[in-house]
């Protein structure tokens, strides 16, 4: 597998870090090389947070990616800030629920919008599992990681004593995998 650089961005509290850790852990379990680096330290509450996960069969050089192959945008600001940085031919997966302006790039980007916050709310009654909906969409679109190891990672990273939380997240993952509202090709 060629190296894939994935940027996950959203605001604090949207589960960006957990989503990133699940991707990196699943990559590790799939016997790939992985790195994860998050923006740290000087972030303000409610500010934008971004993580970069790199998955590769080869050794990984810099853990920092100026131009990601894939962007998972959890809100409008994340899309505006990191959308233009996606490489030509790259992939965008965006949370349509929190996006009001998608007119921003002319690159050859494959874009998938889904109303993840609404899906989360409808299926589980609250918006906390939005990140799992996005993860499901990512998995469906990229087939980069095995479903089995994504599920394994969710179980590893969530507290084992809270089985209910684990099953809620797994349900949201499958919800995201099965849902696509529209697919837009920019050329």
């Amino acid at each position: 597998m060629a190296e894939k650089k994935i940027c996950i961005a959203g605001s604090g509290g949207q589960g960006v870090l957990l989503l990133s850790k699940i991707l990196a852990t699943a990559g590790m379990l799939d016997k790939k090389n992985v790195t994860l680096i998050s923006s740290y330290g000087a972030e303000m509450r409610g500010g934008v947070i971004n993580c970069t996960v790199i998955i590769s069969d080869e050794d990984i050089g810099s853990p920092i990616a100026k131009n990601p192959d894939i962007l998972i945008a959890m809100n409008n600001y994340a899309l505006q800030k990191y959308g233009p940085k996606i490489i030509s031919g790259g992939l965008l997966i965006a949370n349509e629920s929190l996006i009001h302006d998608s007119q921003f790039f002319g690159n050859n980007i494959k874009a998938s919008f889904l109303p993840a916050t609404e899906i989360a709310k409808t299926s589980s009654g609250h918006t906390k599992s939005t990140n799992m909906i996005m993860l499901g969409a990512f998995l469906h679109k990229t087939k980069l990681l095995s479903l089995q190891n994504i599920q394994e990672s969710i179980k590893l990273l969530l507290p084992a004593k809270n089985q209910n939380l684990i099953s809620l997240n797994l349900e949201a993952l499958h919800e995201g995998m099965g849902y696509f509202k529209e697919e837009i090709f920019y050329d």
Partner: protein, 354 residues
Amino acid sequence: MSEKSKKILITGNEAITEGAIAAGCLFYFGYPITPQNEIPAFMAKKLPMIGGCFIQAESEIAAINMVYGAAAAGVRSMTTSSSPGISLKQEGISFLAGAELPAVIVNICRGGPGLGNIAGSQGDYFQATKGGGHGDYRTIVLGPSSIQELYDLTFLAFDLADIYRTPVLILADGVLGQMMEPLAFENGQKPKMNLPEKTWALTGAKNRPPNIIKSLYMGEGELEEKNWLLYQKYQKIQNNEIRYKEYHAQDAELLLVAYGLSARICKGVVNKARKQGIALGLFQPVTLYPFPSSALAFRAGKIGKVLTIEMNMGQMVEDVKLATGSSSENFFYGRPGGGIPSDEEIFQSCRKLL
């Protein structure tokens, strides 16, 4: 890595604590500073569980002096900080060197000078390798470039500190401290090196003459004699402890020289270049003191063209030039504190030289 090894996804800061605890570190003293705060946080959690001791000191200076005390008692101990905090510890490091006490000090380097910022940097190379504190002393300095190396070299640092009775520094940076990567634990099972008994330690003088730990030598000729002994020790370290890595260096047309985070970025650059038929190679010093001068001189002499890459405006490059002399053309690419070079930037500066 072998299939059998247990792997976990872990931050660099956490890997340091795992390496330290695997090495038998029982005492940790520190004071908070970003980007290394996970180290005291993990040590605070873990050490009490294994009968060790964690103290959040009132300052960095207090922390290094607590290390001095624990080391004098013969216990493996460690302190960690980031650049401004490491500056504060220099007096204590000089005293550790003078009193010949083993200790491990980790610098998760951030941008400077002054408070700078919290991004990764390699601005403290001079401070780490050329003394830092006062007096004619050296510390062994290790430069890890991955989460696995952070673990392995922390483990090694405790052994080297005990063997040579000297403080050992680990020079990493904010990115390595914060990033996550899989760590294989099989290396943690390896036995420690053959270590000398700590017959010099202050363990209570029952049935033996008292030991004295000090760095003050006022008697006629005493200090010079002490410094000759230290000099001999540093010579021994230079002869025995040089470590470096080479990557596609043998048939390279341009040799990159980099350590730490810069080295791993350069490794990516080498891979990228090789795919395009451009013969880049990498020489990565792992011990920054002792610097692998002979090995570098040999390789640079064969290739004839060297590009040193650092996250500062030219520190290690001085050691590279000293090592290679006139046997190679020397070039430098640097990004000052607060900036981290991308592989594309480095690749472009390589292309200009070919």
